[in-house]
């Protein structure tokens, strides 16, 4: 799905923006290059357009080495400088060939990927199957505490590499021997854990320094000033289409208010991640700026611990599901910047259904909730201790949970005690039976329903809420092992039906992605999709 453009008036402001305009005009006047080939064909020879983009963000970088990252800020830059065997194109949801021209399997256990011919890294060295094997092996063996080696668990457990995991019979063939059938392995090959690095440059047992990154992506890293700035320049040896710009500056801001001011002043062209709802309201309709929306895979929910009262009683969970007014939360707390969520598999993902709406209706149903509790002989008001965390999920969490408390208590069916603690203590207590019900959120690792369904509903879920349903586990095994899209979607749909009925987790909202863009900047709407990859290469700017 593509983004939606919400426009505003045109006005140039700021001395810095004027300086950029002059600079761009001078560069354009001096340049004799033709614009790059941007018709989507895979020529690999077109020159990038002579354009500089400035992106402002509140994210931060942990590591630019694929073995040491599992965070947004690091992944955002890495997506630009590295490549993967497969990638999800803008607006798409399925992996497509990238470094690999094909990845085939007959049993979802052995995957054979064939690399394109003539691939090189940005330093000119050839990219071969040996580099692919090296990249996966080092990620698992380094087992960095902040890395994403757990995403490669189908290949080998973190820290426990097996030489049989990958075979490289020739320079362009890579054979993955998974430990068990996994139909989502192609999606895993699009993640940050699967970036390919040069075996001649990167150490096998340590992280590469962030200012010495070498990849095969659309950009090279020209400058890295931690906490301040990243500068990317178009990689002339990239195998595919040239970016629609020459250079990208990524400026890092500590506060969204500072980013907002910088946007208004014309110091940055694009603001993406992360604005508060009030920032967005303030920027809507601002002169020279536009709000661009796109679908997002970020979700918020609260979970019951099924070993603790009152979540051990299904009727209580169902009643809570009936009382939540998601639209009110979206409108009153988030000012329309999020959408109501009626399933733990968000809209936009294959297999999504509005399971909670189908089971309980879209709006609050106090009468239905009262009946459910009465049928189960549950005494009302039900005492519920509901936990949330003040800063990790944004400043609006306080308002969100105050609203949830109000909704649950309306009609006198629940008596809610809100409790909160900071994230560090929260993560220690929530997953160790400390909280009867608690707030959580999720961003996808890859664009597949498995990343939601299995993560939350399998009996081995990290949530540790003691939810176990054999039919759900069996269905998860089916969807993970099947390459039949219809069969997988059927599994997802049945899982959503069961888990809406049992309601161990109550979905609340699904985030839309928002970017604030200066007039004249194009392409942002093309990149806002559930992958959360901000594809600088699709973005251009007219003066």
């Amino acid at each position: 799905m593509e983004g939606v453009w919400r426009g505003g008036a045109v006005k140039r402001k700021g001395r810095v923006a004027a300086a950029f305009a002059v600079m761009a005009l001078v560069l354009a006047a001096c340049s004799s290059d033709e614009p790059g080939d941007t018709d989507g064909t895979d020529t690999g020879t077109a020159e990038p357009a002579d354009v500089t983009i400035i992106h402002g963000t509140t994210d931060s970088i942990v590591s630019l080495d694929p073995a040491g990252q599992y965070d947004f800020g690091s992944n955002q830059i890495s997506q630009q400088v590295y490549s993967t065997l497969l990638e999800v194109p803008a607006g798409g949801s399925l992996p497509e060939p990238a470094l690999a021209e094909s990845c085939e399997t007959e049993d979802s256990t052995v995957y054979t990927c064939t690399l394109q011919d003539g691939l090189t890294f940005s330093d000119g060295s050839p990219l071969t199957s040996e580099d692919v094997a090296f990249s996966f092996q080092r990620n698992i063996e380094i087992d960095d505490p902040q890395g994403a080696c757990s995403l490669l668990a189908s290949l080998a457990a973190c820290g426990k590499w097996k030489d049989s995991a990958i075979e490289t019979p020739d320079d362009t063939t890579v054979v993955f021997n998974l430990q068990a059938p996994n139909a989502v392995w192609p999606s895993v090959l699009t993640t940050s854990a699967a970036f390919i690095v040069p075996s001649e440059v990167y150490p096998a047992d340590a992280l590469q320094p962030d200012d010495q990154v070498v990849g095969s992506g659309r950009y090279t890293l020209a400058e890295y000033r931690p906490g301040e700035q990243v500068v990317l320049e178009a990689n002339p040896s990239f195998y595919g289409d040239a970016p629609l710009n020459t250079r990208v500056f990524v400026q890092y801001f500590k506060q969204s208010s500072a980013l907002k001011l910088a946007l208004e002043q014309g110091e940055v062209d694009i603001g993406w991640r992360t604005f508060t709802p009030t920032d967005v309201s303030s920027l809507e309709g601002a002169e020279g700026l536009s709000v661009v929306e796109g679908p997002g895979g970020e979700i918020r929910y609260f979970a019951f611990n099924l070993n603790l009262e009152p979540g051990d009683e299904p009727a209580v969970r169902q009643a809570a599901a009936m009382l939540i007014d998601r639209q009110a939360i979206a409108d009153n707390v988030y000012e329309g910047t999020v959408d109501p969520l009626y399933s733990m598999l968000p809209a936009g993902f294959a297999g999504h259904t509005e399971a909670f709406a189908e089971r309980y209706g879209e709006g609050p149903d106090p009468d239905g909730a009262a009946q459910v509790l009465d049928d189960a002989s549950v005494q009302t008001p039900v005492e519920l201790e509901l936990w949330w965390t003040p800063t990790h999920y944004g400043d609006a969490s306080a308002d969100e949970y105050a609203e949830i408390k109000r909704q649950l208590e309306e009609g006198g069916l629940f008596s809610v005690t809100l409790e909160s603690t900071e994230w560090d203590q929260y993560t220690e207590d929530a997953f160790t039976d400390g909280y009867p019900a608690y707030q959580l959120g999720w961003f996808p690792d890859y664009v597949d329903g498995d990343n939601y369904i299995a993560s939350f509903y399998s009996s081995a879920s990290f949530l540790n809420i003691h939810y176990e349903n054999q039919e759900v586990d069996d269905l998860i095994a089916v969807e993970q092992g099947s390459t039949d899209d219809a069969e997988r979607e059927g599994s997802f749909q049945r899982i959503q039906e069961i888990t809406a009925e049992e309601a161990p987790i109550i979905p609340i909202w699904q985030g839309t992605q928002l970017a604030i863009v200066r007039d004249g900047v194009t392409g942002v709407e093309d990149t806002l999709d559930p992958t959360y990859i901000f594809r600088y290469w699709l973005i251009s700017k007219s003066e």
Binding site: P145, R225, P226, Q229, L261, A262, Q425, Y426, E428, F462
Partner: protein, 342 residues
């Protein structure tokens, strides 16, 4: 003279010796507080994404569950060799953080102190000289108001007026993105580097970015100096030697600026020095408001992420700076005034 020199040396050595236990207490407190507080860098980053067993495994592999005494002794040993370690959350040598982000703070602090001294001493002197006049009242009022106003509030106001409404000045960062990228940094002090490299366009850009945060911070600190200078000048003007000067027919201007002013400044120097040392550890609120990539901002970020290696290293450095500057000030005072001894 030999006697004076000997007592000064003894004073200095004693002063340095006293600084060591002070520093040790600081390091121990930082070490303990960071480990007693709940959380660790791994949970901060990956809690809510990975199963508890996986988080526990990663914590154990990283050594966060080692006995405290072992970690403490290792920490002291590293500090003794000026090895402040490598940050956990972004794998940067802490010395790099201190050098790069410390330079940003140093630049902001130096300019802010110049503004603080000029405004504080200037207004304070006028207020003291023209005591109980409109100038005095205005100066004192200005000092009180500016000191009472939170620096971030003044910063927001300045950004609103000079950045958003008038569009005169940029509102964040040390320089524009292109200048930051293209400036040849030899000292990490952008003002100095732009002068050294003769990049006058960059110099103007850096000055534009520096004006607001330095002025806001400088005025707030200057508010303290106004009152201090005024009070000290008034006290000094009551002195016998000042009366004697007046009796000899020395003009009032000379009485104030040649006789009283210098003596009134002695305690001010102490305060200025200590204030400067404190700011070097990071003018956090100013840096946060203006997105200034200083060491204070980085300290907050590392605190948020429970990166105790980074926090220890930065606070140790800050402690060393404050200790060094306070010893230096004490030495200067002792050198000037022979009465200052143990």
């Amino acid at each position: 003279m030999a006697g004076r020199s000997h007592s000064l040396r003894r004073y200095l050595l004693t002063r340095i010796a006293l600084a060591i236990p002070m520093l040790l207490i600081l390091l121990t407190l930082v070490f303990l507080l960071m480990r007693v507080a709940p959380g660790d860098p791994i949970s901060a980053a990956l809690g809510g994404r990975l199963p508890q067993e996986e988080l526990d495994r990663r914590r154990a592999e990283a050594g966060y569950d080692r006995p405290l005494i072992g970690q403490y002794l290792e920490y002291l040993g590293d500090v003794a060799t000026f090895d402040f370690g490598t940050t956990i959350v972004d794998n940067r040598p802490v010395t790099d953080v201190i050098v790069q982000n410390g330079a940003a703070t140093l630049e902001l602090t130096m300019v802010a102190m110049v503004i603080a001294v000029v405004t504080g001493v200037g207004i304070g002197t006028l207020a003291g000289r023209y005591r109980d006049t409109g100038l005095d009242v205005g100066g004192r009022l200005f000092g009180i108001v500016i000191y009472a106003a939170p620096v971030f509030y003044l910063g927001f106001l300045a950004q609103l007026v000079f950045g958003k409404w008038l569009g005169w000045l940029p509102t964040s960062g040390r320089a524009s993105p292109v200048v930051t990228f293209e400036l040849d940094t030899k000292t990490n002090l952008f003002l100095v580097d732009s002068v050294i490299t003769g990049n006058w366009e960059a110099f103007v850009d850096v000055v534009e970015h520096l004006v607001m945060p330095a002025t806001v911070l400088g005025l707030v600190i200057g508010g303290v100096f106004i009152r201090l200078v005024r009070v000290n000048l008034i006290q000094t003007l009551k002195g016998d030697y000042v009366e004697a000067a007046r009796a000899r027919g020395v003009g009032e201007r000379a009485v104030v600026f040649r006789h009283a002013f210098k003596n009134a400044l002695v305690p001010i120097v102490t305060v200025v020095g200590l204030q400067f040392a404190l700011l070097l550890s990071g003018a956090v609120l100013t840096e946060q408001t203006f997105n200034w990539p200083g060491i204070g901002s980085e300290l907050v970020r590392y605190l948020d992420n429970r990166d105790y290696i980074a926090v220890q290293g930065i606070i140790t450095f800050a402690g060393l700076v404050v200790v060094f500057v306070s010893v230096l000030i004490d030495f200067v005072n002792a050198w000037i005034d022979p009465r200052v001894r143990f």
